[in-house]
Amino acid sequence: MKKQRTNAIVTLYHKLGSPPSFYRISGYFLKWLLLISIALTCWGLYDGLVLAPADYQQGDSFRIIYVHVPAAWMSMFIYAVMGIAAIIAIIWRMKVAEAVMIASAPIGAWFTFLALVTGSLWGKPMWGTWWEWDARMTSELILLFLYIGIMATYGAFSEDARKAARMAALVAVVGLVNLPIIHFSVKWWSSIHQGTTVSLTGESHITWEMLRPLLYMAFATKFYYGYSMLKRARLYLLETESQKKWAHTVITENK
């Protein structure tokens, strides 16, 4: 029984590791991922913007939380996924891992950007300034720089997609090693030098009505990421395997 299960996992690993079957299997999921993420987003936004009660202190401006917080969570989640894929891509030279890694970077960068923009939109009514140099915001900004570095590396070597992907993967791994160092040093820096500008701990009083839409949105963004990432990864695979037979048939079939 147990042996069978490991076998199943091994075959799944090999299946997902081979571009044609990854392409085929991921094809089944695409539509569903998109549909679920759209449904969740609609419901979450309706719940958050209409159903949830206004905050007694912040009024309606707090509702930006339903974009801001999921985006901020995704920015970190995606970096983790990308970092793991990058390690696999470098050590085992697995093409699918390259694809996942390369596909994740722009999505992660957009979520990071979104978190920054919504954060500073929120900051204006809350603190009267668009931007404050506190630890969390600063490290989010540095995260954006890391994403940009990865994408720029990929772009710089665009003539050879595989080499570009492996170079970008190396940058991602180095960033991954450094990320905790950056995180803690920034925390430490702002804790010694700055009085806490804002306390973000207010959310422990958050009511279920306010929390529920947040969870919807958190799941919606995950599904959207799954959809968008698979779609980009499939494109990458088609591009780099365009000489192989399976890719050729896919391309001609789609014409």
Binding site: D160, A161, E241, Q243
Partner: protein
């Protein structure tokens, strides 16, 4: 006994496979000329054999061990000179020659280096910076390395380019000598038909269908 054995090797640039897979074996004292039209992939193939690129299609064995597995032995025995000469323009000829080899762990005394420059026709240029040499002189400076090394496999990409007639003659003689000493030679040279006389194998690369 074959020392180098290549089976179904081809190279890729971007996503494209360049030429029809080729196979060859080389034993002591044998030499291989790689020819083919411009852009067919000669340089790419030579760089892959030398170890600058990884071999993606097919495999090459050196002394029966796959090159991918153990490169050290191969690096110790093979020597590559490509399109780029590897000279530092801010160093003079003597310094260039010595430092290049010393970094590879090959000790070269000043006297030896001077002799090598003399052989290659750069006597009198020992203290001129490599940056201000003419095209042919730069090539000569790079080729001077060949007179100082003991590697059995030489891999040369278009070594005759930019050399004048005297230079070509000298190089031909040196290559012959290397082969006579049981060395192995892998070379491209579309500008020098006379190399064909001493070559034991020729590989004509052909477009991938």
């Amino acid at each position: 006994m074959p020392i180098i054995k290549a089976t179904d090797v081809s190279c890729q640039r971007g996503q494209f496979t360049l030429f029809e897979p080729v196979s060859f074996t080389l034993a002591e004292g044998q030499s291989l000329l790689i020819s083919g039209a411009n852009g067919i992939g000669k340089t790419t193939l030579l760089e892959s054999i030398a170890g600058l690129r990884s071999i993606q299609l097919g495999n090459i064995e050196y002394k029966s061990i796959d090159l991918l597995k153990s490169k050290d032995q191969w690096f110790d025995d093979s020597f590559f000179i490509g399109h780029k000469t590897g000279n530092k323009k801010e160093l003079n000829c003597l310094e260039n020659l010595r430092s290049f080899l010393q970094i590879q762990g090959i000790d070269v005394s000043e006297k030896q280096a001077e002799d090598a420059l003399d052989k290659v026709g750069l006597a009198g240029y020992e203290y001129q910076f490599a940056g201000s040499l003419s095209a042919g002189q730069k090539k000569r400076l790079a080729l001077a390395r060949l007179t100082l090394i003991k590697h059995t496999v030489w891999i040369l990409d278009e070594p005759f380019v930019n050399l004048d007639v005297a230079g070509c003659d000298w190089l031909l003689k040196l290559l012959n000598q290397h082969i006579d000493n049981k060395g192995i030679l892998i070379i491209t040279a579309h500008d020098n038909p006379s190399i064909r006389k001493k070559i034991t194998h020729e590989l004509v690369l052909e477009m991938q269908r």
